[in-house]
């Protein structure tokens, strides 16, 4: 089961992703969180320190190959496989893979081709994978999210956030990427403004699966840099996500 969380930058993808992990962990299933946003902070939201990302590993291997530091006969697939496994951060309750920095200059065709297969194999070992995608639409056009089962599109109440959500819905249709299910989550809704907002977001063509009210405590955690995964169980953001998980039959 692969769940991807997408939307415009700053709408709350990382909040949703980290709370999904929070609600899913402890259920005895193997969970992998993938941070696919080069500029994201899912590790911080999960309270995890990252030493080396997939991007770092890719860069290292490229440099080593150019410098001739890898024995001719040694298999680069297996070296990359090992290094990727090494960059997986393992916790008792879930694992985390951080994609990290984007490509530098030069050719990454061969390395990316290997990476796709390696990450595919790695992912097949998990029961549930939660991907915090990069902001915007890139992940669709590059087809990095084409095997996703559930696409959760996040928007805040801004016009731009809603527009991006709408485009995600349209582009996936255009590119013929059919997610089994895709839903909209509306974040930072002001109390009493639900109806107005729900009317506005209906333009996106996506079914709303959850609304999260503006929450002081989330802003406080953000401000203090506290891991969002430690938000209280009864915080409104957390109850909203727990409900979504129940509605999606994920628990």
């Amino acid at each position: 089961m692969i769940i991807a969380v997408s939307g415009k930058g700053g709408t709350g993808k990382t909040l949703i992703s980290s709370l999904l992990i929070k609600s899913l962990k402890g259920s005895g299933r193997d969970i992998l969180a993938i941070d696919a946003d080069p500029d994201s902070n899912l590790p911080e939201a999960l309270g995890i320190e990252v030493k080396r990302t997939v991007g770092d590993v890719r860069e290292e291997l490229k440099k080593d190959a150019a410098a001739g530091n890898i024995p001719q006969e040694a298999n680069k697939w297996d070296i990359l496989d090992y290094k990727i496994m090494e960059s997986v951060i393992e916790t008792p309750e879930f694992d985390l893979l951080v994609m990290g920095r984007p490509e530098g200059s030069g050719c990454y065709c061969a390395l990316n081709n290997m990476l796709r297969k390696i990450i595919g194999t790695l992912s097949s070992n998990y029961d549930i994978i939660v991907i915090d995608t990069e902001a915007g639409l890139e992940h669709l056009s590059r087809r990095t999210t084409q095997n996703v089962d559930i696409m959760l599109v996040v928007t805040d109440t801004s016009k731009r956030g809603i527009l991006t959500a709408q485009r995600i819905g349209e582009l996936s249709k255009e590119l013929d990427i059919s997610f089994d299910e895709s839903y909209l989550i509306v974040n930072r809704v002001k109390q009493g403004k639900e109806d107005e907002i729900l009317k506005k977001v209906s333009e996106t063509g996506l079914n709303v699966i959850g609304t999260i009210y503006e929450d002081e405590i989330v802003s406080k955690y953000d401000l203090e840099g506290k891991p969002l995964i430690n938000l209280p169980d009864d915080s409104c953001a957390n109850t909203a996500i727990s409900k979504i998980i129940k509605d999606l039959n994920l628990k």
Binding site: D30, K62, A65, A66, A67, G68, P71, Q72, E73, A74, N75, K76, W77, D78, I79, D81, Y82, M85, E86, E90, T91, P92, E93, D95, S105, G106, C107, Y108, C109, A110, L111, N113, K117, T121, L122, S124, N125
Partner: protein, 462 residues
């Protein structure tokens, strides 16, 4: 066959990963050490199996232990050269054992045993047993096999030393492997999404232009993914051994480039050079004024002696085009003994950035190192010529010979040298490796290595 082994053994478990949360113990890997080695030996006691050091039953959960896999094989048809190929299978075969994870190769192995396997009664001894059965099954030329597994620190450390010495021998042999030693090369069309007529031909002496994959990588990739973008190509008839032209390679390139390119010289920039994708690590370019070859790599930001930077040159000769006088290449190819062999190897190289020259000191012949200028020694063609003459670079014989043949060369040189027509100052305003001009009467004029000079450039608004 595996009835003594308490866990399932099947290819379906390949790719199995054991999360630290589900593992009983870890062997080798980034936090410990380990190695694996297969060696052809005499007097192998068939079926022999030993675990030197603690067995799984004597280990404590969550711990990390050093690990060594040493397999000796014997058989009438077994040769030393096959050790590496057979050893590469250890990774896959270990992964056939359910609950046993194995990553990577040589002295970088990383294994884990799942809690579930240990609960089922699995022991390292069973891994050894599975390996000996599977290897014999896969390689019937193995007549006798003995497996030793080490988990005792001192034993593993001594074993790693032995293994490293064996890898060194193998690497030296792999370095010496040349185009003549193999029956097949590999083609790669991974870059065709943006360079539709580009086909990389990867041989032991020529790594792919991107530098990411060599002949050995292609061999592994073609086997893992036979329908993939990397495939085997037979050599066919050797049409020109020096230039590296093969009939089957030509046929494959023609087929895969949709007929755009039908001949390829693997080791020359002239006539039919290897096509260039766009993501090559470096470009070799012919400098007609000096009858020599310059090299520039992607990281070099300045201008080349042709008056344009790497990026502009890459733009002009990429996209799968075959342009005489230009070829994309990898850093690895510059370390190859066949590097532009047909053109004279480093004897023909007249300029390269300092950084790559420094990285190639072991590969450029000693007597040439001081004779090849870098951006610090010379920038313009005139400066390079001066440097080459002062340092007696072998290429000066070539242009001296040419001078004797063509008397009026002196004046021609004047022109190209300074980039000016005598008496009228002019600047180079355009450069193109290939320039097509429409002409009347159904004729097309193609200028190769065109440099356009003008006394005045006027830019007008329409």
């Amino acid at each position: 066959m595996f009835k003594d082994i308490p866990v399932d053994v099947s290819p379906m478990y390949e790719g199995e990963r054991i999360r630290s949360a589900n593992m009983f113990i870890e062997l080798g890997g980034p936090k410990s050490s380990g190695a694996e080695l297969i060696q052809v030996a005499e007097d192998v006691e068939d079926g022999s199996l030993e675990v030197v050091g603690p067995e799984l039953s004597e280990m404590s959960e969550g711990e990390i232990y050093p690990f060594g896999i040493f397999i000796q094989i014997q058989g009438e048809k077994l040769e030393k050269e096959l050790e590496g190929v057979i050893e590469r299978r250890v990774h896959e075969l270990c992964n056939h054992v359910k609950g046993f994870m194995h990553l990577n190769q040589r002295d970088q192995i990383w294994c884990r045993v799942s809690k579930e396997a240990v609960e089922a009664g699995f022991k390292l001894e069973h891994l050894g047993k599975a390996l000996s059965i599977l290897l014999k099954e896969e390689f019937p030329i193995i007549e006798k096999i003995a497996v030793s597994l080490f988990t005792e620190k001192s034993e593993v450390e001594a074993f790693i030393e032995t293994a490293r010495a064996a890898y060194d021998v193998r690497d030296t042999r792999a370095m010496e492997l040349s185009d003549e030693d193999v029956d097949v090369f590999y083609g790669c069309v991974m870059c065709q999404s943006f360079a539709p007529s580009h086909v990389c031909v990867v041989t032991p002496d020529r790594t792919a232009l991107c530098g990411a994959i060599n002949w050995f990588d292609c061999r592994a990739a073609a086997k893992m993914d036979p329908e993939g973008p990397i495939f085997e190509v037979t050599k066919g008839k050797v049409l020109d051994a020096e230039k590296g032209e093969y009939s089957d390679v030509n046929a494959m390139v023609s087929d895969r480039s949709q007929g755009m390119v039908d001949r390829v010289y693997l080791h020359s920039v002239f006539e039919h050079p290897h096509t260039s994708c766009g993501c090559f690590e470096a470009v070799a370019f012919y400098v007609p004024e000096l009858d020599g070859i310059g090299i520039v790599d992607r990281d070099f930001r300045g201008e080349t002696p042709l008056g344009i930077p790497f990026s502009a040159m890459a733009g002009q000769c990429s996209g799968g085009k075959q342009i005489e006088g230009f070829t994309g290449l990898s850093m690895g190819y510059m370390r190859s003994p066949k590097f532009l062999r047909a053109d004279g190897n480093y004897k023909r190289v007249i300029w390269m950035p300092k950084e790559i020259k420094n990285s190639l000191t072991d590969f450029i012949p000693n007597d040439l190192i001081e004779k090849i200028p870098t951006e610090e020694d010379a920038g313009s063609i005139k400066e390079i010529r001066k440097f080459l003459k002062e340092h007696e670079h072998p290429v000066i014989e070539r242009f001296q010979q040419a001078k004797e043949e063509v008397e009026e060369l002196e004046t021609v040189e004047e022109v190209s040298d300074e980039g000016r027509v005598v008496g009228a100052p002019a600047a180079q305003v355009a450069y193109a490796p290939e320039l097509s001009m429409a002409a009347g009467g159904g004729v097309k004029i193609i200028l190769k290595n065109a440099k356009i000079y003008a006394e005045k450039v006027i830019i007008k608004k329409k």
